[in-house]
């Protein structure tokens, strides 16, 4: 099968570390090397569109970069969870009537706002669909911002568990309407409202026919994610507090048998740490070139940035020491935002 050659890279990290930007840069790197790549994001705030300097991403992968030298190209795709889910319902429902019943359910219609994790689940589905199409040589995935980078991987199972929920299914069983169970029902009614519960339970029951399809899919996805074709890339900022997160993430991935291949240390501030004595000496020298207030500012500004240099260095050293097998790449702290393709390509070249 041709798609067996498709490479998958999952870019993880906590919010605000620059995942989206670096995922796009990674996809571009593959295009620079002559491959056909796609970057997928499910970020609802349209940040990938920002980073790529385009206003809106369409429903299908859109070409954002062509390498005329070697035929490489990068596509971008922004996932719309609701339409992906709708498509899946049609695909797995045993009959159009069942599909319609689910699509019309008011809870289903508000699923993404009401069930956390449904977006992540849809992202997984989309990744698999694109992977399965074999249309791209490399797929780079920008994962949603989560407190825990690992939550993304657990989302599909959580969704399946939720749909399997036996408690809710029991609610609809006629046997519950008699005897001691009636007390329980009354209590549920008082706490949650039976009409609503019934609505939820109906949705869950309608999903049962689709569940085997979903589960098979979840298993396939897991298999692809654990295979050699897939690797995980962690993005982190060089902050004292981030180190623990990196360690935990690496440990969990390892335990779950996923392949963490690299860490991208974003906003790395490179520089030399000078001694106080040296700085005092330099200040005198600077005062001979600049106005005294300017020299003062240059020195103060330099001192204010020293913590960034120190943090960057110690973060890198710590990672190299504790996770020696991990490929480490530093991306320099840029003074300006990455907001166009040219800047992304420049970053891509350093990866």
């Amino acid at each position: 099968m041709n798609h067996n050659a498709t490479q998958l890279q999952i870019v993880c990290g906590t919010g605000g570390v620059g995942k989206t930007t670096l995922a796009a840069a990674l996809a571009l790197k593959h295009a620079l090397l002559g491959k056909k790549s796609v970057v997928i994001t499910i970020d609802p705030a349209k940040r990938l569109a920002d980073a790529l300097g385009i206003k809106k991403l369409s429903d299908a992968p859109q070409k954002i970069f062509t390498n005329t030298n070697n035929g490489g190209a990068t596509y971008a795709f922004m996932l719309e969870p609701k339409s992906t889910f709708d498509r899946l319902i049609h695909k797995y429902a045993p009959s159009p009537a069942v599909a319609e019943k689910i699509l019309q359910n008011s809870i289903y219609q508000n699923l993404s706002s009401m069930i956390s994790g449904s977006q992540e689940y849809m992202a997984m589905e989309m990744i698999f669909e694109i992977w399965d199409s074999g249309e791209f040589e490399v797929i780079v995935v920008d994962t949603p911002p989560l407190q825990n980078a690992i939550d993304f991987l657990l989302a599909p199972q959580k969704m399946v568990d939720l749909l399997r929920d036996s408690l809710l299914q029991h609610l609809l069983k006629p046997s519950l309407a008699q005897g001691a169970a009636q007390g329980i029902l009354k209590m549920f009614d008082k706490i949650i409202g039976f009409e609503f519960l019934k609505n939820v339970a109906e949705l869950v029951v309608s999903f049962q026919d689709l569940l085997s399809g979903f589960e098979a899919r979840a298993a396939q996805i897991r298999e692809v994610f654990k295979s050699k074709k897939c690797d995980f890339i962690l993005v982190a900022s060089p902050q004292v507090t981030a180190f623990e997160d990196v360690q935990n993430f690496a440990k969990t991935l390892n335990e779950m048998d996923y392949n963490l291949s690299a860490i991208l240390v974003n906003r790395f501030f490179a520089g030399k740490v000078l001694s106080t004595a040296q700085i005092t000496q330099d200040k005198t020298a600077l005062a001979q070139i600049f106005k005294s207030s300017e020299a003062e500012f240059l020195v103060q500004n330099f001192q204010e940035h020293l913590p960034l240099i120190k943090q960057s260095d110690s973060f890198k050293t710590k990672i190299q020491k504790t996770l020696p097998k991990l490929k480490l790449n530093t991306i320099l702290f840029e003074a300006t935002d990455v907001h166009d393709l040219a800047m992304l390509v420049r970053i891509a070249k350093t990866l």
């Binding site: 349209k46 920002d50 911002p145 825990n148 519960l197 960034l308 935002d337």
Partner: protein, 290 residues
């Protein structure tokens, strides 16, 4: 700034990584210093506030930072137990029907219930505190937990959940009590997201919007004319870092201008950049608002 501190309940929201916890904690410190009984609430988080104040992580327990400042990290399961007990009054009944595993499962299976329960609890806590600051969850869609009551009210037309949603909405939309503040950095992506969140907020609800906190704002980095030819190798680092800071400052000013197009000056509060970040109480006290 002054107006936001008047609110008894403040939700601090924004894109991931912009410093919501830092700003929420700073606001709470300011309230507490003024001798108001203040509580910082986290919604089912990893216990970041506790960490900031060097306390152990104890979900769903009120932790004392000092006499006037407390913190709690709410969990859905505990809020559920409280909510149920209020309806059925008998603890033994609760224990009989909902052992822990079952409760956990049940709460997670009812869409929107998590958020409703936690928001309901926050509103109850207003009885015990002068001021509550909520460090709202980071998510791709920053305001989502605040939108849950609206969604539930729309989807569930009657019954206890509908009432609960309505009760929460009434408290949230009481402008004398509740405000929402957004946190941003002066970078393109967070600024865009702030503008989007603000648009959603005003379009979908009548919550009172208190303003934007601009975290890591650089104070003036003056223009200095380069004296390149006289700069020795040893002095070059000073110039390089200056150029970096100056470029960042100009970039920040551009982003500030785009915020100023939407927000009045009184709605924008800057928080000075701390190169080391804010990792403890002393750092928080050092954070300068301007």
């Amino acid at each position: 700034m002054r107006t936001i501190l008047n609110s008894r309940l403040i939700f601090v929201s924004g894109k991931g990584g912009v410093g919501k916890t830092t700003i929420a904690s700073k606001l709470a410190l300011l309230q507490a210093e003024a001798q108001h009984n203040t509580l910082i609430v986290e919604l089912n988080s990893l216990g970041n506030v506790a960490k900031l104040f060097d306390l152990p992580s104890c979900p769903n327990t009120i932790q004392v930072i000092n006499k006037t400042l407390h913190t709690i990290n709410l969990t859905p399961a505990a809020c559920f137990e409280e909510y149920v007990l209020r309806q059925i009054k008998f603890k033994f009944l609760f224990k009989t029907f909902f052992d822990n595993r079952l409760v956990k499962h049940f709460v997670s299976a009812i869409p929107g219930l998590n958020e409703l329960l936690m928001l309901g609890k926050v509103i109850d806590l207003l009885k015990a505190y002068d001021h509550i600051i909520v460090d709202a969850q980071a998510s791709g869609h920053g305001l989502s937990s605040l939108q849950v009551p609206y969604v539930v009210k729309r989807v569930v037309k009657f019954g206890p959940l509908h009432h609960q949603a309505q009760k929460i909405i009434t408290a949230l939309e009481d402008h004398n009590t509740t405000s929402v503040a957004l946190v941003t950095l002066l970078e393109e992506m967070p600024v865009n997201e702030t503008l989007e969140s603000f648009a959603t907020l005003t379009k979908t609800s009548s919550l009172h919007f208190a303003g934007v906190f601009i975290n890591q704002a650089l104070k003036n980095v003056p223009e200095i004319l380069e004296a390149k030819k006289n700069l020795s190798q040893a002095l070059k680092p000073y110039w390089q870092i200056y150029e970096f800071a100056r470029m960042r400052f100009t970039g920040q000013q551009e982003q500030l201008q785009s915020l100023q197009k939407t927000f009045a000056a009184s709605q924008l509060t800057s928080v000075a950049y701390l190169p080391n970040g804010a990792h403890n109480k002393t750092d928080l006290a050092d954070l300068e608002l301007f």
